[in-house]
């Protein structure tokens, strides 16, 4: 059987943006329920705050970055400090402009359907990247 790597999921988890909370929730859904044995994660700021071991992450795994807004911090940070992501997801394509809500938790609690849809799409990308590996 051919080796299939785990896929690295890197959420922006932006604290001040609804999209960041949704990116985090969808990523956790995939990590814990949809693809628990096929995925791994790393805290995005560790690329800068950590050492070479952490920076090796995206060079070792095919990665999917999940950004809550078009500032694309996860994609840009991963590319700058580790390696180019295999897939870059921008949740503004699902949400529209998502960082304008003033109450972040309000949006998250009422967006479980949205979180599920995004999580399903991440899981599909995980399948594809593993199939395409090698």
């Amino acid at each position: 059987m051919a080796f299939k790597p785990k896929v690295g999921l890197i959420s922006c988890s932006g604290e001040a943006c609804s999209g960041g909370n949704i990116s985090r929730a969808a990523t956790l859904e995939v990590l814990h329920y949809l693809r628990p044995t096929e995925t791994v994660t790393i805290c995005l700021p560790l690329f800068l705050a950590g050492d070479e071991g952490e920076r090796e992450f995206a060079r070792s795994f095919p990665t999917i970055t999940i950004d809550g807004c078009s500032k694309l911090c996860a994609a840009r940070g991963t590319e700058r400090y580790s390696s180019t992501p295999a897939m870059k997801m921008n949740l503004e394509e699902y949400l529209g402009e998502s960082c304008t809500s003033t109450d972040e938790r309000w949006r998250l609690e009422r967006s479980s359907e949205l979180v599920d849809r995004i999580a399903q799409d991440i899981a599909s990308h995980v399948n594809r990247l593993r199939e395409e590996w090698g």
């Binding site: 943006c17 790393i42 700021p45 800068l48 996860a74």
Partner: protein, 127 residues
């Protein structure tokens, strides 16, 4: 100027979720006129507005593990936190306030988040 509270973005551990919860208890509550948060990853990308915010404001960092991402990124951006909180150390002082998981920090995690809020509210932070 509002004070800035920045949690660590930790996605792998319950302590990161507690840091985030503590931040929202300040920014989405009766204290919202006094405290605001910014996206930590913006400091990785050298966002000008965020860098200016952390250099000109009283900044509180709340980290979930010894890697201290929030604290390190604030310093990377030229800021100097007035208070650097390590969530596990707060737990050490209130051992019964233990969080459950990253998906659900539970009652213990909520109490720990409240402990962190109280530390920030009680801090004398004149810059």
């Amino acid at each position: 100027m509002k004070k800035v509270v920045i949690p660590c973005s930790g996605i792998g551990k319950a302590f990161g979720a507690v840091a985030r919860e503590a931040t929202y208890l300040l920014t989405d509550s009766d204290h919202s006129n006094e405290y605001v948060t910014i996206c930590l990853p913006l400091l990785m990308t050298d966002d000008v507005e965020s860098k200016q915010r952390v250099t000109e404001s009283n900044v509180y960092t709340v980290d979930g593990c010894p890697k201290r991402c929030a604290s390190i990124l604030v310093r990377h951006a030229g800021g100097k936190p007035v208070m650097e909180i390590m969530t596990p150390k707060v737990l050490a002082a209130n051992k019964e306030h233990k969080p459950e998981t990253v998906l659900n920090i539970g009652d213990g995690g909520q109490l720990l988040a409240t402990d962190i809020v109280n530390l920030i509210l009680n801090h004398g932070d004149d810059k």
